[in-house]
C-alpha cells in the first residue's frame, strides 16, 4: 500500500490548511474529499414507520419477554424432575410450596427440589437467579423439626444460580448441588448451580 504524505493526512484531519499543500499533493486530497462527498448522498429509504410500529406493538404491558437470553436454550424435553450431579442422596420429600402450590410444570419447565441440613436453624430460604435474588420469595420447610429443610418449585428449564440463606443472614452454598461457580465478587464465594430439565 502506498503511504499518503503526512501533510495530506494532516489536512484531512483538519490539522493543516489544505491550501498550503504543494501542488503535487493536492490531487490526493481532492480525490479523497470528493469520494467522501459522494458517499454523503442521503439514503432513499426510511425505517421510521417500521420502527414505530414495532415500538407500539411493544407497549410496556405486552412487550415480549426476553426468552432464554440467560437461561440455556431448551431443546425438546420430556417432563422430568431435576437431579444433581453429586451423590444420589440429593432429594427429600417433595413439597409444593405456596410459591407454585400444586403447580404443573409447562413444556419448558421442570421441578427443582431443594434440601438442606441445618439443625437448629429458625429459617432457611433459597435465593437465586430464578427469583431475581429476592429475599423472602422461596422459604423451605422443616415440618418434622429434624433439621432437614426442603422445598420444591417449578422453574424454567435451564441454568440457575442460587444460595441458601439461613436465619436471614448466613449465605451458604448448597452442599448437595454438585455444581458451583465463583460469584465474581472477589471474595471467593461460590454460588450453587442448578440445571433444570423439563
Amino acid at each position: 500500500m502506498t503511504a499518503i504524505d503526512p501533510r495530506v493526512q494532516e489536512a484531512l484531519d483538519g490539522e493543516r490548511d489544505p491550501t498550503t499543500l504543494p501542488a503535487e499533493l493536492r490531487e490526493a486530497y481532492a480525490r479523497l474529499t470528493a469520494a467522501a462527498t459522494l458517499l454523503r448522498d442521503p439514503p432513499a429509504t426510511s425505517v421510521a414507520d417500521r420502527v414505530m410500529a414495532q415500538i407500539r406493538r411493544e407497549a410496556p404491558a405486552t412487550r415480549p419477554p426476553r426468552r432464554s437470553n440467560w437461561l440455556l436454550r431448551p431443546v425438546t424435553f420430556r417432563l422430568r424432575p431435576v437431579w444433581t450431579l453429586a451423590v444420589a442422596a440429593a432429594v427429600a420429600a417433595v413439597v409444593f410450596l405456596p410459591f407454585r402450590e400444586s403447580a404443573i410444570p409447562g413444556a419448558e419447565e421442570g421441578v427443582a427440589q431443594f434440601v438442606g441440613h441445618f439443625p437448629g436453624a429458625r429459617s432457611v430460604e433459597v435465593v437465586g437467579s430464578f427469583n431475581d435474588w429476592q429475599r423472602g420469595a422461596l422459604a423451605l420447610r422443616d415440618e418434622d423439626h429434624d433439621g432437614i429443610w426442603h422445598g420444591a418449585v417449578v422453574l424454567p428449564a435451564g441454568q440457575h444460580e442460587y444460595m441458601f440463606v439461613v436465619d436471614g443472614e448466613r449465605w451458604v452454598a448448597d452442599p448437595l448441588a454438585g455444581r458451583y461457580v465463583d460469584d465474581g465478587f472477589g471474595a471467593g464465594q461460590q454460588n450453587s448451580l442448578l440445571i433444570v430439565r423439563p
Binding site: 436454550r73 437431579w83 465474581g184 465478587f185
Partner: protein, 210 residues
C-alpha cells in the same frame, strides 16, 4: 413463571432501583449500556447486580463483579464468532459460553466443543465443565462428548454422560479417569438417564444422625 416474565419486562434500570445501593446505579447503568451498545445480552449483568445487592456486597466490588461479567460476555461472543459465526448474535449462545467461562472451562476447549455442533451450546458446555470439575482430562472429556453426539445423544442427555462418568469414577474398587471414560464410551449410546433417588429414601438416610 408469570412473576419471572413480569420481572423481565421491566427495564434493567427499573429492576435495579431499590435493589442496589444508589451509588452503584450510575456505573451499573453505564456497564449495561455498553452491553446494549455491543449487542450483548444484558440479563446476566442485571442478575449479577441484583445478586450483589441482595448479598450486601460493597459498591466497588459489586461494580467490579458486573464489569467482570461484561468482560466474560465479550470474550464469549468472540469465541462464538470464531467457532460458529452464524450464531454470534444469539444471546442464548453468548450467555451459555459466558457461563462456561465462569465455570473455569478453557476457551480453546469451549471453541472446540462449539465448532462441531450447531445445537444450542449450553448442555454440552455444562457436561464438559462437569467432567473437568471431576478431574477428567479436558481433551478426553471433549472426545467423549463428541463421540456421544455422534452416536445421537444431544441436549441434556450429554449431562447424563457426565453423570455416568462421575459414577464410574466412584465405583467400589476405584477407577482411574481413563478407565471411567472408557467404560462410559463402551456404554454409548445407552447411557442411563440420571434420576434422583426416591425422596423417602433420602429422608431416612438424612434422619440417621447425618
Amino acid at each position: 413463571m408469570t412473576l419471572l416474565l413480569l420481572l423481565l419486562l421491566q427495564s434493567p434500570h427499573a429492576r435495579l432501583e431499590g435493589r442496589v445501593p444508589a451509588a452503584a446505579l450510575p456505573p451499573l447503568d453505564s456497564l449495561i449500556g455498553q452491553a446494549v451498545a455491543e449487542s450483548l445480552p444484558t440479563e446476566p449483568l442485571v442478575q449479577k447486580a441484583l445478586e450483589g445487592g441482595a448479598k450486601g456486597i460493597p459498591v466497588p466490588r459489586l461494580v467490579n463483579g458486573v464489569r467482570h461479567g461484561l468482560v466474560q460476555l465479550r470474550d464469549a461472543r468472540a469465541i462464538v464468532s470464531r467457532a460458529t459465526p452464524a450464531r454470534a448474535s444469539l444471546d442464548g449462545d453468548v450467555a451459555a459460553v459466558a457461563a462456561a467461562l465462569a465455570r473455569g472451562l478453557d476457551p480453546g476447549l469451549i471453541e472446540r466443543l462449539l465448532s462441531a455442533d450447531s445445537e444450542p451450546p449450553g448442555p454440552v458446555l455444562h457436561a464438559a465443565a462437569d467432567l473437568v470439575a471431576h478431574r477428567f482430562p479436558a481433551d478426553s472429556a471433549a472426545d467423549l462428548l463428541r463421540t456421544a453426539q455422534q452416536q445421537g445423544l444431544h441436549g441434556t442427555r450429554l449431562l447424563d454422560v457426565a453423570v455416568a462418568a462421575s459414577h464410574e469414577l466412584q465405583r467400589e474398587g476405584g477407577r482411574t479417569p481413563t478407565e471411567a471414560l472408557a467404560r462410559v464410551r463402551a456404554m454409548l449410546p445407552n447411557i442411563p438417564v440420571a434420576t434422583p433417588p426416591h425422596p423417602r429414601t433420602v429422608t431416612r438416610r438424612a434422619g440417621r444422625g447425618s
